[in-house]
Amino acid sequence: MANFRFNGIGIRAIAACVPAEISHNEDALKNLVPAEEIEKTITAIGIREKRIAPHNVCASDLCLAAAEKLFADNPEISRETIDVLLFMSQTGDFKIPATAPILQQRLGLPKNCAAMDLSLGCSGYVYALSAAFAYANLPTVRRVLLLDGETFSKIVNPRDRVNAPLYGDAGTATLIEKSETFGATCFVLKTDGSGEASVKIPAGACRLPASAETLAEKTDSEGNIRSGCEVFMNGMDVFNFAIRSVPAVMKETAEFAGFLPNEADGIIFHQANKMMTDFLAARMRIPSEKILYSLHKYGNTSSASIPLTISECGKNLAVRERIFICGFGAGLSWGAATLSLSATKISEPVTFEE
């Protein structure tokens, strides 16, 4: 059972970076839905605008800027003390090498630093954070730097009306270390690979390599256009999955941690879309003021959405002792955690500068 409890490990600091270019859904939806439905769609998904990276800027670049912001705001943290660097993304720089070693060099981290990539969809931050905690829990590890960033703008077709209005780009940095002030952190992680087709880029990797055939744009039965190398999402199946799985994993995590979601100081769901999070909140009877949002500004940034939301509005919480986070998405993969952000230095998102 993937239920993990840590004591005396926590998030020391968190920072984020978003691209400067704003994509307004009012424009993005113009050629996708009838004019009278644009406002309705924006209200339902809760995403009015999001940020889009320039063609030459990758998730790693946004994460690098977030990490530089974190180091700048926490000058007492020496880069020499980062023993593990994790890069969580599905939009890395290259197939080979992994992106984490490139970031180790660009950040000026020591060669005694273990660096590797992790790959998951919208559940990724909760998973990667659990891995970071497990490393930080080892006696010889001083600090773990977790970089989580995505640039879905590079893998979503602008004429796919399911995905195009949702996804934005962002990079984040989370610093994990030991300290008694952090108290207990609980993770509950789940997997169901029978739903692997629900969110998928079918082509472009080893199972079905990129070819003229898989790179060609095709129109599906719903009128959405995409190639085999771009993201497909079955909205109804994912919605059904989230409604079934999220309340259950939140309940299990609550029992494990010893407090209920509505006793939390703040709850951060993966910023899928407003319709989804509203329904989840209603189902679990969580007062809406406890739920933190950044999707109206940044959209769904896949696994970066939870740390981005903490960066954007974590400081607004008067008390940050009992925080719930919950991620869910491609795989299918989902998980929740309870943690304290009381001792966390939260930096607000910076805008990427070339």
Binding site: R161, N234, M236, F239, N240, I243, M276
Partner: protein
């Protein structure tokens, strides 16, 4: 098929008068039907009937009668 289900369904719609709906209505042909409305339908049926429709239930259904049958099947 219960009138109640038609009432539930009509609550989703803003441009289609409730009295024009029947069990023979091909709901995907309604001008306001779209994939977002399908998600609203799932949440509404879950709230009102305590049944969670699967994506396939909605994909395979053509008429409101088919949808109603899917709800009953999932009970």
């Amino acid at each position: 098929m219960s009138q109640k289900f038609i009432e539930i369904f009509s609550a989703l719609l803003t441009q289609t008068p409730a009295e024009t709906l029947s069990e023979e209505t091909k709901f995907k042909e309604l001008p306001e039907w779209n994939s977002l409305l399908a998600l609203s339908l799932m949440t509404l049926v879950e709230d009102e009937c305590n049944v969670l429709l699967k994506g396939d239930d909605i994909r395979k259904a053509e008429t409101l009668r088919d949808l109603f049958d899917a709800v009953e099947r999932n009970r």
